[in-house]
């Protein structure tokens, strides 16, 4: 199977977010960049699918030069190939990223595409839909289990919906599957994997190469703002019974939330 995994490089979850002086974005100077955690699940699912069905796993990202590290991480985990749409100097919106990724995918005819359900930076959770639509293939999102049909022409995906319910969805291939945490436990890159990864070539594209340089942004972003700081409130003293009683009274009479 020709398996593709879409990934995004994002600030580490422990990053303390600071804004630039003009609030036009976040300060990126001291950030540790990682593969978005949901995309790690996608890489793992790609590798597991390859191990079960045969084929190759290609990881694909769009972003500035630093994203090469994210691709190397995926290669070190065991991906076979890596592709990079270089966007240095441009900030793309989700629409443009979707166009760029879809253009690469169109050239490569994947049977199956995995992605994380969202990047943990922008939390937009939309690129998967744009890509699937631009490719005109089905998509399933928030997936926690994938079962491949024996003829490799369709799959069943378990999708989490609200309230703990699940939809089991049958889709033809090619299909784009956006995965959620819980689907697997990602391997980390082994040391031999890291050493092998350094020798692999990363195929690069520019937006012009892909014929999507003319796509204009649909949205612009501005005015980043930090949420209001919460401050510590009341401490409730006494034994457990007194504390519980007092809490309920305060929630009812002061905060009026119950």
């Amino acid at each position: 199977m020709n398996i593709f995994v879409l990934l995004k490089q994002v600030p580490d979850t422990e990053t303390k977010i600071r804004l630039t002086g003009d609030s036009s974005g976040i300060e990126t100077s001291d950030i540790k960049w990682i593969v978005s955690p949901y995309d790690e699940f996608a890489i793992e699912e790609g590798l597991k699918t390859k191990e079960a069905q045969g084929g190759t796993v290609t990881v694909l990202t769009a972003g500035p030069d630093r994203c090469v590290d994210a691709l190397r991480t995926a290669l070190a985990m065991g991906a076979d190939n890596a592709m990079h749409v270089k966007t240095d100097g441009d900030t793309l919106d989700t629409f443009q990223v979707g166009k760029a990724l879809a253009a690469v995918l169109k050239q490569n005819n994947p049977d199956l595409i995995f992605a994380g359900k969202q990047g943990i930076d922008d939390d937009q959770a939309a690129a998967f839909g744009y890509v699937a639509e631009f490719l005109d293939i089905p998509s399933v999102s928030v997936v926690i289990k994938v079962e491949m049909a024996s003829d490799k022409k369709s799959l069943r995906a378990h999708r989490e919906v609200d309230g703990g319910a699940k939809h089991i969805i049958e889709s033809t291939l090619p299909c784009l599957v956006a995965v959620n945490k819980g689907i697997n436990s990602p391997r980390y890159a082994s040391l031999p994997g890291i050493m092998k990864a350094k020798k692999k070539e990363i195929k690069t594209f520019t937006l012009a190469d892909l014929g999507v340089a003319g796509e204009s942004a649909r949205v612009s972003e501005s005015a980043y703002a930090m949420p209001p700081e919460r401050s510590a409130g009341k401490k409730i003293d006494g034994d457990a019974a007194t504390q519980a009683k007092e809490l309920v009274r305060l929630l009812r009479e002061e905060a009026k939330v119950i």
Binding site: R72, Y188, A189, S190, L191, G193, I194, K198
Partner: protein, 382 residues
């Protein structure tokens, strides 16, 4: 000057090792510290992830990494758990004599199995009567046909209870002192080997330390590493190469102690403010950090010189790195306990374990005193 930046692969190695300790070592370090069991499962995972035997050259199927890379790896292992780290890292010490002085056939035959499965090896140099004065050892090797017959006892041998292969240092003639020494690769299966009970140590509980004795153990001549008379050189050259990594494990342990101390000092409130607000604590933290940074640079420099083939300079910096890193880690761990106060003295918090664990680094693989002897010898030689 090439600069201090790690290469992308080295940064990735460090990152990977850090993930490994976060996921596989730190969560179980306390458990193995209290049970003093051998961390088989962690060793298995370390092997699966390629963290063992990293210096085996590529032409023999290894990763072909250098001493500098080993330094990076061992800082992370030391930050995870010195005891578990020692269990994982000791293979490199035990196999280095074969890698450096063995012929191709020996490397393939003796080291090949270590790339096939999570096997362990022990480095058998120290004896009850020969510690810092290694040349005074008294385990004997007697030629007998196409074999040598080994007799004698070794002490403080790491992983001795679980090793599949021992690199054993002996003498063919004690009166020749260092010139009579030889190194043999001895299979665990050889008749006449008996291992003692695990030592009940102060720290590094997860590492297996025992006495081992050889009674008329027959070793084929094919397992003589180098030549008769090379033993002392093999031992010292090996220790020069592995010392930066041992030193680096102490840097890791100290880094962990500092990390815990910083976190605790920001949480712990006295006089209505975090104790990190007090200059007394700030100065302690600052001094701890300076020591960690300085020791790390010494380890890097030692690793770098050895990888460049500057063995003499490497030996010099290795001694500095080992001496300074071990002593500073002891100081930093002690200060971390001090910052925690009474809590730090209990097993509920991680710093007392680090303090017990790092003590051993001042002792094993050349005490801090012997390192000073080495340094002084370099300084005073004509």
């Amino acid at each position: 000057m090439a600069g201090f930046r790690l290469s992308d692969e080295q940064a990735a190695l460090k990152e990977m090792a850090r993930k490994f300790i976060e996921k596989e070592v730190i969560p179980v370090a306390g458990k193995y510290d209290s049970s003093a069991e051998f961390p088989r499962d962690v060793i298995q995972k370390a092997w699966e992830n390629g963290l063992m035997n990293i210096t085996v050259p590529e032409r023999f199927g290894g990763l072909g990494l250098g001493v500098f890379d080993d330094v990076l790896l061992n800082e992370e292992l030391g930050a995870g758990c010195l005891g578990i780290g020692t269990s994982i890292a000791v293979n490199t010490l035990a196999l280095t004599p074969i890698l450096l002085f063995g012929n191709d056939e020996q490397i393939q035959r003796l080291i090949g199995p270590f790339l096939e499965g999570p096997k362990l090896a022990s480095f058998c140099l120290t004896e009850p009567g020969a510690g810092s004065d290694a040349a005074s050892l008294s385990t004997t090797a007697r030629e007998d046909g196409d074999s040598y017959i080994l007799n004698g006892s070794k002490m403080w041998i790491t992983n001795a209870g679980f090793a599949d292969l021992y690199t054993v240092f002996c003498t063919v003639d004690k009166s020749l002192k260092s010139k009579g020494m030889a190194c043999f690769a001895v299979s665990r299966e050889a008749q006449g080997i008996s291992v003692g009970k695990p030592e009940d140590k102060m720290g590094q509980k997860a590492s297996d330390t025992r006495a081992i004795s050889f009674e008329n153990v027959r070793v084929p001549k094919a397992n003589l590493i180098g030549n008769i008379g090379d033993g002392f050189k093999i031992a010292l050259t090996t220790l020069d190469r592995t010392r930066p990594a041992i030193a680096s494990s102490a840097v890791g342990a100290a880094r962990a102690a500092l990390h815990y101390a910083i976190g605790y000092s920001k949480e712990r409130k006295q006089f209505n403010r975090p104790i990190s607000d007090f200059q007394a604590i700030q100065f302690m933290l600052a001094d701890m950090a300076t020591k960690v940074e300085a020791a790390r640079l010494l380890c890097y420099q030692a690793g770098f010189e050895i990888d460049q083939g500057n063995l003499k300079l490497g030996s010099y910096y290795s001694a500095h790195a080992k001496r300074f890193a071990a002593d500073m880690a002891m100081e930093v761990a002690t200060d971390a306990v001090q910052i925690y106060g009474g809590y730090g003295y209990t097993k509920e918090y991680p710093v007392e374990k680090i303090m017990r664990d790092v003590k051993l680094v001042q002792i094993y693989e050349g005490t801090s005193q012997i390192q000073r002897v080495v340094i002084a010898r370099h300084l005073l030689e004509d």
